[in-house]
């Protein structure tokens, strides 16, 4: 009776006939000293003496507590110590092996240097995070892919970082956050788009990032529930900016993935942008097509946390508009709102389309 067998690994979903790719995994350092080998003495000294300076208040913690420690599944803390997703063997056990995944994409969040007020530290940390991904994860696990973390408020340094890793097939995308100092279509970010397009790398734009601006147009919200909804609005502001500024005219091969931003906002945004564009087309004559066409051609979305309408056909209609070839499975491991691949994708979605979501689309998009 007291002998408890471990929970059996259920394997991949039966519908994952084109493979199982998880496009949103968040590795974390066990502690900051893991970055030390990849930082200059000066940068290390700065980091441990003066610390990280995100562009928001309460920078020693989150502006909104996350419902669970480090916003993580309470069962994801490795038995050997360290925070969730800091231990490769346990990540294998709890995610890659458990669900028989083919590929998992690492999206390092804080501490990653992205958006740090100190430009020099931002650059140094982003570079260190990339080296750390190679040394701590990618060298040891062929199923994992890295994301090129760039200090996105500094275009030139970001380009340097993209070029440094562009030829390394273990990195499959460039990573940005959804809240930046200015909208992502602005000229200061064009070097990033250009370098990504030249490298043939898609750009993942993950929810969060602390830009220094309040996260709603009306200021800071009161509740974490509100912050979670803000991902969808930040995503809309970013893709609107990119479309309207003509980013996809300038860099026609560019693909972006809105990660953890939801996606049911996209048809509504497309309709509204198109309606306004028809009337005010002459303000943005550099757009040669309707805004929704750029959205549907260049913008991919990830599933977690997927919209859960009362009537399942509403979800099908939404994805139909976005495109069945544009949606990618994401688990968000090890965060508390993790999606189990076997249960998170509704069976109301036809099996062949679920196969695209689980792996077919990601394999086509990332190609490495």
């Amino acid at each position: 009776m007291n002998l408890i067998r471990p929970i059996a690994s259920p394997g991949r979903p039966a519908a994952a006939t084109l493979g199982l790719v998880d496009v949103d995994i968040h590795p974390r350092v066990r502690d900051l000293s893991e970055f030390r080998p990849f930082l200059s003495e000066a940068a290390w000294h700065r980091l441990v003496t003066y610390g990280i300076h995100a562009r928001h208040g309460f920078h020693k913690g989150y502006p909104f507590p996350k419902a669970a420690p480090l916003a993580c599944r309470r069962d994801a803390w490795p038995p050997g110590g360290g925070p969730p997703a800091s231990d490769l063997p346990f990540l294998r056990e709890q995610l890659l092996d458990r669900y028989d995944m083919d590929i998992g994409v690492l999206n390092p969040l804080q501490p990653s240097g992205q958006g740090d007020v100190n430009d020099g530290l931002s650059v140094a940390l982003a570079r260190a995070v990339n080296e750390w991904q190679v040394e701590h994860w990618l060298r040891h696990e062929d199923r994992l892919r890295g994301s090129i973390v760039v200090p996105y408020e500094d275009g030139a340094a970001s380009v340097e970082e993209i070029r440094r890793w562009a030829g390394d097939p273990r990195f499959c995308q460039v990573l940005l956050m959804s809240r930046t100092s200015e909208p992502l279509g602005r000229q200061r970010y064009w070097p990033i788009w250009q370098a990504a397009a030249e490298a043939g790398l898609p750009v993942g734009i993950h929810a969060f990032g602390y830009s220094g601006h309040a996260m709603t147009n009306g200021g800071w919200p009161s509740f974490y529930v509100e912050e979670v909804q803000e991902h969808a609005t930040s995503a809309q502001a970013q893709v609107s900016s990119m479309v309207i500024e003509g980013i996809f005219e300038r860099f026609p091969s560019l693909r972006v993935i809105m990660i953890e931003c939801g996606f049911a906002w996209m048809p509504s945004l497309g309709w509204r942008l198109d309606a306004t564009w028809k009337r005010l087309r002459d303000e943005v004559p550099h757009l040669r097509r309707a805004p929704s066409e750029y959205l549907r051609e260049h913008v991919f979305v990830s599933t977690q946390p997927i919209e859960e309408p009362d009537r399942p056909e509403h979800l099908l209609d939404t994805i139909e508009w976005i495109g069945w070839d544009r949606i990618l499975f994401a688990s968000d491991y090890p965060h508390w709102d993790f999606d189990d691949p076997r249960l998170a994708i509704p069976s109301t979605i036809p099996e062949a389309k679920r196969a695209l979501i689980y792996g077919g689309n990601a394999r086509h998009l990332y190609r490495r």
Binding site: M1, N2, I4, R5, A67, A68, R73, D75, W336, L343
Partner: protein
């Protein structure tokens, strides 16, 4: 259903819990102020292991600005998506009709009663003078 002697009462103090395996299922035994309850260790939402969650109470509000906290320690919260389940019934607070964990009967029996069987064999000795938690699963 077989009856399983899963632990001496003293092993699961009030507010404590123990995961056991019975009839091929992982089951959590809870002690709520001396009463024992048992739930399947699997969240009906997405399958998270409930045993990894924290105990909580019930936060309610009759109107914005007024809050009541009650039943401290009588809910188990899924370690994944934070669903709250009433340990006494297995029902989720949010969707009690459709989203519920399977409950199992659990009770205390004395060693003297257990001597009369039939019970599934245990890995610890059953003493007539002690009390035990008995699970039906």
């Amino acid at each position: 259903m077989a009856r399983h002697v899963v632990a001496p009462v003293a092993e699961i103090p009030p507010g404590g819990r123990k995961v056991v395996e019975a009839d091929g299922k992982r089951i959590i035994i809870f002690n709520l102020s001396g009463e024992f309850f048992a739930l399947l260790d699997r969240c009906p939402h997405q399958g998270g292991p409930l045993s990894g969650g924290i105990l909580c109470g019930l936060t309610q509000s009759d109107a914005p600005g007024t809050y009541r906290f009650s039943r401290a320690g009588e809910f188990i919260r899924c370690p994944w998506h934070q669903w709250e389940f009433d340990i006494r019934t297995g029902k989720s607070w949010f969707d009690p009709r459709r989203t519920k964990v399977r409950p199992f009967p659990a009770a205390v029996a004395t060693g003297a009663e257990l001597a009369e069987g039939p019970y599934v064999a245990e890995t610890f000795p059953v003493l007539v003078e002690d009390a035990y938690v008995v699970l039906e699963a």
